[in-house]
């Protein structure tokens, strides 16, 4: 009798760690105990989805809807409405290089000559919501606003939906100073024909307005002639880009190294930034006279 009592006391000590003393007391009283146990389990299962540690599936899209692009575009458009010089950073392919992305953010934060940052896509490596959250948390430390375009890795699994919730639409545009930035999803290989990539309807609708800005910069994750691009339409795509007022150049990421390519031998340059692993980004300055760029290692 004594021994069982002693054992029960030891058990109680262990169980306090698990469920708490109150539950334990009920538990010991048989019937009420069972009800209490189920009650606690029920309450736990109702309350826990709010807890960070609870995950239904690595690809489950239950992430906070934030529309980061939309919010940051408002900041960019209002802050630089009257600027005739625009200075921005193109970085990309953060993928699984969180430490390097963090270093990149702190390097950009040390400068005071950056108006905003463009993330060229491949935010995540496996398209999992948690990766988007990690990169979002790192990028949120930027002192200047940033926008992100969707990369092929951001589409894997339920990635496209996570991107939509976290950043907003996959095709969008904004005007900084007098320059229109046309940001597009060009990762055609990730989709079937049911999903138009590049979306010409979007491009044509953007072409309806050619008066509220002087210059254009096209932004995409993967450029014509890359394996991801729908190369069947690379020429029409490029011709459409050239129809935009005073197209300066096109920007892309994806190829993990700095690339300066005159893809169609017509003087329109596609600038590609290196991946975060290479600890490098591109810095652009748009002035009324023209533009300059620089490759920056950090």
């Amino acid at each position: 009798m004594q021994k069982t009592l002693k054992n029960d006391i030891v058990f109680v000590v262990f169980f306090i760690r698990l469920r708490g003393f109150m539950v334990m007391r009920y538990f010991m009283k048989e019937k009420i105990g069972k009800i209490a146990l189920w009650g606690v389990l029920g309450a736990v299962s109702l309350l826990l989805p709010a807890c960070d540690l609870i995950e239904y599936h690595p690809y489950d899209v239950r992430v906070k809807s934030q529309k980061i692009n939309r919010r940051n575009i408002e900041r960019i458009e209002s802050a630089f409405r009257d600027s005739d010089t625009i200075r921005f950073v193109l970085m990309g392919d953060s993928q699984r290089w969180y430490d390097e992305t963090e270093a990149c953010v702190s390097h950009i934060n040390k400068r005071n000559d950056v108006d905003f940052v463009i993330h060229g896509g491949d935010i995540s490596d496996f398209g999992m919501p948690k990766e988007f959250e990690w990169v979002r948390d790192i990028m949120s430390n930027l002192k200047v606003p940033y926008v992100a375009v969707i990369g092929n890795h951001d589409i894997i699994g339920n990635g496209a939906e996570v991107f939509e919730k976290m950043y907003g639409e996959e095709n969008y545009s904004f005007i900084a100073g007098k320059t229109k930035f046309l940001c597009m999803n060009t990762n055609a290989l990730e989709f079937d024909y049911s999903h138009p990539v590049p979306n010409f309807e979007f491009i044509y609708s953007e072409l309806n307005d050619t008066v509220s800005y002087d210059k254009t910069v096209a932004v995409m994750h993967t450029r014509p002639e890359d394996e991801q691009f729908n190369n069947n339409v690379k020429l029409p795509f490029h011709e459409l880009m050239k129809r935009f007022p005073n197209l300066q150049f096109c920007l892309h990421a994806h190829n993990h190294s700095t690339q300066i390519t005159d893809v169609f031998d017509d003087g329109v340059i596609y600038y590609g930034c290196a991946c975060m692993k290479k600890r490098s980004y591109l810095y652009f300055v748009l002035t009324p006279e023209g533009y300059s760029y620089e490759e920056v290692d950090f």
């Binding site: 054992n7 826990l48 430490d99």
Partner: protein
């Protein structure tokens, strides 16, 4: 198949040689039945979360000396969310409980329950191998459909009164797990901490055999 032919032959001999063959046949049938009997699940499990679905339910088998080992098969689901429809998951889980502490006749505590589980999700959005549309089968060097998880946890078991019982015991357990992709993200980055990659789950196990 071999066994079937063997049984058929035995049946034939049974007609021919009477009593002796019948007992041998009976023994074989007995052995045959008992080998199938081992496939009868010994417990049912219900698990909440753990990156294998919202709820997973299934059955399993315990074995080894002192039943330190358990293998479960669990079917789960991830509820629909916006454009994403409900998805079914399947989990194969191997458990190992090295210690069993009997506090009293009624309560048993397992200070460590650890193991591995492999989870697959049924959806066209996910692939086990890189689909052929990609230029190389190493274009994406991982599977989005099949995840391998490792876990650590604890268990507490309530043994039912042998007189009144309908089943043997009910266990409550919790687990902390992580999966292959989270793990490689964490080992290659100081930024990713252990708490970032852990997934918590709870479950119940009802032993009935």
């Amino acid at each position: 198949m071999k066994r079937l032919i063997f049984s058929a032959l035995l049946l034939f001999f049974l007609c021919v040689s009477g009593g002796y063959a019948q007992t041998k046949h009976d023994r074989n049938v007995e052995r045959y039945k008992s080998s199938w009997d081992r496939l009868i699940p010994r417990y049912a499990k219900l698990q909440f979360a753990g990156s294998m679905g919202f709820l997973s339910a299934g059955v399993g088998w315990d074995y080894g000396r002192s039943k330190h080992w358990e293998t479960d098969v669990l079917l789960g689901f991830v509820p629909a969310f916006k454009h994403d429809d409900t998805k079914v998951t399947l989990t194969l889980k191997q458990n190992y409980m090295p210690w069993k502490i009997h506090f009293s006749q009624k309560f048993m505590f397992e200070p460590l329950a650890c193991g591995i589980y492999i989870n697959t999700i049924f959806s066209d959005n996910f692939w086990a191998r890189t689909p052929i549309k990609y230029p190389s089968n190493k274009y994406y060097s991982f599977s989005t459909r099949i995840r391998t998880h490792v876990f650590l946890g604890e268990r507490i078991t309530l043994n039912f009164d042998p007189e009144k019982r309908k089943s043997d015991s009910l266990s409550f357990f919790y687990e902390l797990s992580t999966n292959d992709l989270y793990f490689i993200s964490a080992v290659s980055n100081r930024y990713i901490k252990l708490k970032d990659i852990l997934s918590l789950s709870f479950g119940l196990k009802l032993q009935f055999l």
